[in-house]
Each structure stands twice: as C-alpha cells, then as structure tokens.
Symmetry: C2
Subunit: 334 residues, 2 copies
C-alpha cells in the first residue's frame, strides 16, 4: 500500500500496522526506566526520581466542531485527561496547540477556549503552554487542536495487566459519541436525541483506584469497546468473555444501531473507560465508580480467562467473536 | 476583527493580541510554584519535588514539507528541542502527533520519521508517545506534526531576565530558514543556494550554560530576531542596542534580502538562539559556543541598557528602531 488512507487513521488493525511498521520506528522510544512507544499504550511512563510521570498526546480533528453534548474544545481536554486517567495518572498540566484556517471565526474560537477552560476546571490542573498556527484558505477546513498532557501516577496502570479471573467493568453506556457525531453530521433524525458522552472522567477513575485491585485500563475511543478489549486481551495474553445482556447501551444508541446496522461496540466513546479488576475487588470498585458523576451507569460486563481473543455471549444464548475492527466507522470522530 | 487571518499566525504583534485576548484565557495557567501561559515564554515551568520540568509544544505546518537543508520531521524535532534548550532544559522526551491527508505517500512518511529519528539521536532523549489522525482528501493539503517536549532544567532561564549591562549573543547567522523556504516555494533562483539552518542546538546552548552568566534566551523563529529581541526587551523592561555591522548574515541571505527587499531580522530561524549574558561572562560564553557544531558563526551583536525598545546602530553610522513585526513575511514557514 503506497498511500495513507482514512482507514489508517481509524484506530483499528491497519492503523496499528502503520504505527508499528512506519510511525514508531525510532531508535529511542523510551526514557531510562520508563515505558514508551514500544508498548503502544495510551501514554508513556517517564521515571523521575521517585515519581512516575505519564505523557500522552492527541490531535483532535473532529467534524463538526460543535456537536450535541460538546465541542472540539471539550473533546480535546477530555481526551487527554482520560488518556492520563486510564494510565492511573492524576492530570497535572496540559499544552494546547491550535491550527486554524484563515477566516476562522474568532467568536467560535472564544467558545472553544471557554469550553476547554470549563472542562479543565472540572478536573484541576492547568493549561500551561500552547502554540498557534494559521494556514491559508483551502489548506484546511476548520480547526484542529493538539493537547498533550502530563500526569503523576502513584502506580501506573498498563493496558496489558489483565489476568485470568479479573472482571471487566465499563464505566457507563457505550457508543454514544460515535453515534452522536454520525447522526449530527449526516442529519439523521431519530426519535430520541443522540448526545456525545464527551467528559473528563478522572474523578471516576480515581474513585476506582482508591478502592484498589485495578489491573488494566483503556479508554475506548476510535474503534470503540471492540478495539479496546482486543488490544487489552492481546497485550495481556488472555481471553476476554463479555455478556451481551450486561452491556449498558442508551435506548437512542440501540435504536440508531439497529436502523443503521452499525455495532455500538465499534463506535467511539469519549467519556468512558474499560477497567480490569481483581475478582475480589470488582463489586467494591463498581460501587465506588457508580457514586461518581460520570459513572452512574457502570456495569460489570465480563471476565478474563486463559486463552486468546474476545468472545461475546449473546442475549439469545449463542457466542460470537468480537473482532478488532479494521477501523472506526466514522471518519474524524475525534 | 471577526476572523482569524494569516497574520494572526505569523508570530508578531497580532498573534500576541489573539493569544492574550482569546487563546490564553484559562482560569488556571500554571501549576503550583510554576510558570505558565501567563508568561508567554517558549515553554512552561512545572515544579516537581526538587526538579524544574519544562513543557513546550509546537505544531508544524511548513510548506513545502521537504526543503533545502531539511524537512518537516527535522523541523518538528529541532523546534521542540530548541524551545526546551532556550529555557535551559535538557531534552528528556518528546511526543509526536501527526495529522495526514488521505493519499499521503507512505514513502514520504518513512523519510520524515527517519529524519525525526536522526535529529533526535543528535541530542539524546526519546520519542515516547504519539498519535495518528487521517483527514479526508480536500480537508488538508499534506501533513502536520505536533511535537511536545519535556526537559529538565537545573536552572530555568526565562526570556525576561535581561539586565542593563548584559551583552546579546546570536549563536549564528540570521534569516537562513525563512529565506530558504521562501525561495524554494516561489522558485527563486539565486547564485548561491539558500539553505535552512534547521538543527537541534541543545549542545550549543549547553556549552554556554556550563560557562555560566546567561540571563535570558529566546529562539528567533517566526518574526525572526526582530520579534525575539523586542519580546525580550519588553518582558525584561530594558532597551537593547544592536550593531548592524556585527550581525552575521550568510552572503546568500544578504543577496536575497537586497533583491527581495525583505529584512533578514524579520525572517525565521530554526537553528539559532538569542542569548543575554552578564558582561563579565560574555567572551567566555561566546568562545564556548563557537566550539560547538552549530555555533561556529556566533557573535556578540549588542548590549542591554536602561530604557525601552530595540535600536540598531547601522553600518552607515545612523540609528533606527527595530520594531516588532506585524508578523513573519512567509506564511507556513514552520
């Protein structure tokens, strides 16, 4: 394949190959004692004296930039906060780099910056440095924002830590963000509104960490829960079995999914985490998460076994594999 | 003004206003004990235990992506290394986030990644995490790269530290990058080739830091040396007087400058630093810098006095103000 395509950017198999074969081919991919690009986790761990710093970066190219439930500003800050959170890191500081097209409305910029501020204020920490570039008309179709975050992790959590016997928890309903973007962009009208779940979930994760027993975490963005579970299973060297009937799905998402023939498991989430927990702690972690603002619909959806792959026990009593998607069905979903 | 324009992205007065009035309006712009967005320096300082972490971010939208002397990959890594260096920080780790258009050649991607790797290897440190997004044809005209860097500063250096009596040093010739991009993009043919100076100058800066006596530093990218000197003077509350005859300029740049009527002081540099030094250390710092790979043409070009503004004593014996440019004459120069 000679050219990069949209599928390469869609968070699935093909993107993974591009990263491994081309994008991550640096001689030095980690700092001494740290963990970096070679692990392809949600962020990197940098060891400094007695502290584990986590570093994570994301470029946000979502289209449209204003959507039900949020905007590119809230998405940018939440995305980075959540990548830090699922590494077990309390957010400390973010950078914010914007690239805009000549002609971008300053009033829209104010709204976006305000959104970023409000989202950051939910969590604490600060936006400490930035960059601004403008490109000529025709070069880009709006605004893109890169946020890079630093957090401090008492005990960093990798996405490769699942062990047989662990339970799998989702912090809430799945597929909300992807369907909201798709419906809004395509102008679909559904009876119930599809609203993005975009939110910074550090306090939800923190509540779980404080109970203890969390073995692995991942935020299911591009490629959805299907991608997240498969990555966790592969890296941990385990099988994951999930129960279809236990997966929390908003009625609006369920309806859209049936109408459009798209699996909510493959749709992006921007305010959720998939968490692996030791069996003995699972109910306590679940209870703690459910007390938090963004964790009210949390549920145990499966367990970890010896073996490979991700399997779902369906509501009609069968089983099917949950595959790693080639990519997210929705371009520019985040 | 209702819309963002190219001048807002050009590193001068108008961009400064946009940042102050819109882009930097967050409630929390620094971490406890640190220095952040409110200072508008090349990076932010984060205090951690006994360590000063420096965080800096840059998006690179240079066009064309391959140019005489380098490419967007070398530019991205050098730019971030140099922003850390002029804050006095030894580079530790970088993140690399790419946004590409559907159809981008994978072979070009390999060249760019290779370039980034070579540039990073000159300095040490690691590229530890990244992100990949692809946008649809027509949405963007190539590739943009955000690099965000963390460094450790024994003693952070701000751009506001100049004091009357200090000398001003440039680590080498000025205007090379801006003229190289302009000439290559417009297809100008000059007798001598214009080549970008893009390079990671940590070892040059480090040599100066080891001597001691450095009071302020800045890397003169968009808006050139004119912008850098004015920012340093304004933030430090001093006057800077430079001697035109002492400013090192490549003959090719001088020729292009005369032919095009563009002042080299306003053209971007991507492998240079402007350094303020205590008078008693100036010659030693200069000597140390001149021994380094990228500091051979270093020169003392002026001094700091009480007062305001930046003044140049011209070669014909007059004086003129060196103003903050409205912006860099070359869009997408970095």
């Amino acid at each position: 394949m000679k050219e990069v395509t949209l599928i390469h950017g869609a968070g699935g198999e093909l993107m993974h190959e591009l990263i491994v074969n081309v994008l991550a081919r640096f001689k030095n991919t980690k700092t001494p004692g740290g963990m970096g690009l070679e692990a392809l986790d949600d962020g990197a761990i940098i060891s400094l004296d007695n502290t584990s710093l986590v570093l994570t970066t994301d470029s946000h190219v979502v289209k449209p930039i204003f959507f039900p439930g949020g905007d590119i500003g809230r998405l940018a800050v939440s995305g980075t906060i959540n990548d830090l959170a699922v590494m077990g890191a309390k957010p400390l500081a973010l950078s914010s780099a914007m690239v805009m097209v000549d002609g971008f409305f300053i009033e829209d910029l104010r709204k976006i910056v305000n959104s970023m501020d409000e989202t950051m204020c939910e969590v604490g920490g600060a936006i400490v440095t930035g960059d601004t570039k403008v490109v000529e008309k025709g070069a880009f179709d709006g605004i893109m924002i890169n946020t890079t975050g630093i957090g401090i992790a008492e005990k960093p959590i990798m996405d490769s830590g699942l062990r047989p016997g662990n339970k799998i928890i989702t912090t809430g309903t799945i597929g909300d963000h992807g369907f909201a973007i798709l419906a809004h962009r395509e102008g679909f009208n559904f009876e119930t509104d599809l609203i993005s779940d975009v939110s910074p979930i550090w306090s939800t994760i923190q509540a779980g960490l404080q109970v203890g027993g969390i073995t692995a975490m991942k935020d299911p963005t591009r490629g959805g829960v299907a991608n997240a579970l498969n990555e966790m299973a592969k890296k941990s060297g385990v099988r994951i079995v999930i129960e279809e009937g236990t997966i929390p799905i908003n009625p609006a998402v369920r309806a859209a999914s049936e109408m459009l023939g798209i699996d909510p498991l493959e749709m992006a989430n921007e305010g959720k985490a998939i968490i692996g927990v030791e069996e003995t702690s699972a109910e306590d972690v679940l209870a703690a998460i459910r007390k938090t603002r963004y964790g009210k619909d949390a549920a145990i959806i499966g367990e970890v076994q010896k073996g490979k792959r991700v399997i779902m026990r369906t509501e009609i009593g069968g089983t099917r594999f949950v595959e790693t998607p080639m990519g997210d069905p929705v371009p520019r979903v985040c």
